[in-house]
């Protein structure tokens, strides 16, 4: 994929329902032919392009922060971009809509470049961004093919079938390593039909994504939890990860049965697994990317007290069981 596609959003503000429905329909029809991929969103302050209804004052439209946004006034059917106008004449034809959206894409791309300022250190972490990109893609379960691009590498994923592929010539491990090592944020975009056809013709075969997600969760964590997972939350594992296929540490093996049995805090997991907070976060992130984690409300101080007393009780109980299990482990070299 030479030129990466962007997914952009368009919203309507203050327009008549008929106009909105007309534009939504046209968007659906035009979307395989536009330069970028366009989706409809309800909140105009999240949209890249806002179609403003007849007589709606521009200042009345909730604006996207960062100002990378184009307003299209439906009353005179032109776009206002830095003083330039892109006119649309009635009756609106599908080719006009495509031209409008492509023009908006170009304007947005031009505007984005000068604004590319140094990002804060945390946002620059490419491996974390890669993990985030994967999480967002798989959360929506789309059946479409999406490309994730960073560091001159592209990974193609199909969220609905939880699979991925690279081009025939690319080595999977190498591609993932380069994506994880990238200092840039990963860009994602839905592929067009002709791009999918090209990939199919190249002989690329989809493979299960779990090992890749697992690796991204571990290597992309950098000691912190993914957004949506809170430091004070309790975490519950829906089921054991497939450790037959997924790499793991002794600490992760130790804490997994506890996570499966009941929700646990990060503090508890550190104690049980005898591993660092960063390792716990990496494990939780990896499990979250595989959709194995349930997040529960934070515990009260009472819960923490129970956790702190737990190792003492475990030790007492081990008089009965741990002796023999320890012996078996020692004999078998586990």
């Amino acid at each position: 994929m030479s030129a990466m596609l962007s997914t952009r959003r368009v919203a309507v503000s203050g327009a008549r329902l008929r106009s909105e429905l007309l534009f939504r329909s046209m968007l659906r029809v035009s979307n395989t032919r536009t330069q970028d991929t366009w989706t409809f969103c309800d909140a105009s302050n999240e949209a890249d392009v806002v179609l403003c209804g007849n007589g709606t004052p521009n200042e009345a439209v909730p604006r996207k922060s960062g100002a990378k946004q184009i307003l299209v006034d439906l009353s005179d059917l032109d776009t206002r971009v830095s003083g330039e106008k892109l006119r649309l004449n009635e009756p609106i034809r599908i080719t006009d809509v495509i031209a409008l959206l492509d023009a908006a894409s170009s304007r947005l791309a031009q505007r984005a470049r000068p604004q590319a300022e140094p990002q804060p250190a945390r946002a620059e972490n490419g491996s974390f961004a890669f993990a985030l990109a994967l999480r967002d893609l798989f959360a929506n379960g789309s059946p479409d093919v999406h490309g994730i691009e960073a560091n001159d590498q592209v990974l193609y994923v199909i969220p609905a079938s939880r699979s991925f592929f690279t081009t025939e010539s690319a080595d999977d491990e190498e591609t993932v390593s380069r994506l994880l090592l990238s200092a840039q944020a990963a860009k994602t975009a839905q592929l067009k039909r002709h791009q999918i056809r090209e990939l199919e013709q190249s002989g690329a075969l989809p493979k299960p994504i779990n090992a890749l997600l697992w690796r991204a969760g571990h290597e992309g964590s950098q000691g912190r939890l993914l957004p949506g997972l809170g430091e004070s939350d309790r975490f519950h594992l829906k089921r054991w990860p497939d450790f037959g296929k997924l790499s793991h540490t002794p600490g992760e093996l130790r804490l997994t049965p506890y996570l499966v049995r009941a929700p646990r805090t990060l503090d508890e997991l550190e104690t049980i697994g005898k591993i660092s907070r960063a390792e716990v976060c990496a494990y939780i992130n990896a499990c979250a990317l595989l959709d194995l984690i349930e997040v529960k409300a934070p515990v009260s101080q009472v819960g923490s007290v129970i956790a702190k007393t737990e190792p003492v009780v475990v030790k007492e109980k081990r008089k009965v069981f741990s002796g023999v299990l320890g012996s078996i482990r020692a004999i078998l070299g586990i």
């Binding site: 299960p208 089921r239 054991w240 497939d242 450790f243 037959g244 296929k245 093996l253 130790r254 997994t256 049965p257 506890y258 499966v260 049995r261 009941a262 129970i306 737990e310 009780v313 475990v314 007492e316 109980k317 081990r318 009965v320 069981f321 741990s322 023999v324 299990l325 012996s327 078996i328 482990r329 004999i331 078998l332 070299g333 586990i334």
Partner: protein, 182 residues
């Protein structure tokens, strides 16, 4: 001298004999005879009674490894074996006609042990037969109101057999720790 039992169960061809051989310190005592069910299973021989292996522990204690016969006509033996067992390892052959049904049958047969978190399911031949996936096995267990670790394994690799034991042991320890708390 104390004795501990570890059970390996599953259908004919699931790899019970191989798994026991991977960890037993004595050559496994096998009671294989010619398999008369060749249309259904390609194995030339199969276990009609028990596979047996053992591991000597400190103080002369023994870990006895039992492989149950694969055919369900020997299921009377399952209950006898499960009494007082340390744990059970259910082996599933994913190339079998209905591996999910196989798992349900063995989880049901050893329900008491499974319910007390002393079981693990190892699914073999996942590379050549990826469907049903591990998720499907977990869902099937959940539908039986059972929670059990399920993982893909190749019992020809000793490290895979040891991994199953390790997961089983961690589960036992966690269950005992939680019991002690309650």
């Amino acid at each position: 001298m104390k004795e501990y039992k570890l059970i390996f169960t599953g259908r004919m061809g699931a790899g019970k004999t191989t798994a026991i051989a991977a960890i037993s310190e004595i050559p496994p005592v096998q009671t294989d005879v010619t398999n008369n069910d060749r249309p259904a299973h390609a194995k030339a021989t199969t276990t009609v009674a028990l596979d047996y292996g053992e591991v000597t522990l400190p103080h002369g204690d023994k870990l006895r490894l039992y492989g149950t016969p694969g055919q369900s006509r020997f299921d009377f033996m399952w209950k006898i074996l499960s009494e007082g067992a340390l744990g059970v390892i259910v082996l599933i052959d994913n190339s079998a006609p209905d591996p999910l049904a196989d798992m349900r049958e063995y989880l049901d047969a050893f329900r008491d042990i499974v319910s007390s978190s002393r079981a693990i399911v190892g699914v073999g031949r996942c590379d050549t037969h990826p469907v049903p996936g591990i998720d499907s096995f977990c869902e099937a267990a959940k539908e039986m109101a059972l929670s059990v670790p399920v993982m893909s394994v190749d019992v020809r690799r000793r490290e895979d057999v040891l991994l199953m034991l390790e997961v089983l042991f961690h589960q036992i320890e966690a269950a005992e720790a939680d019991e002690a708390l309650s």
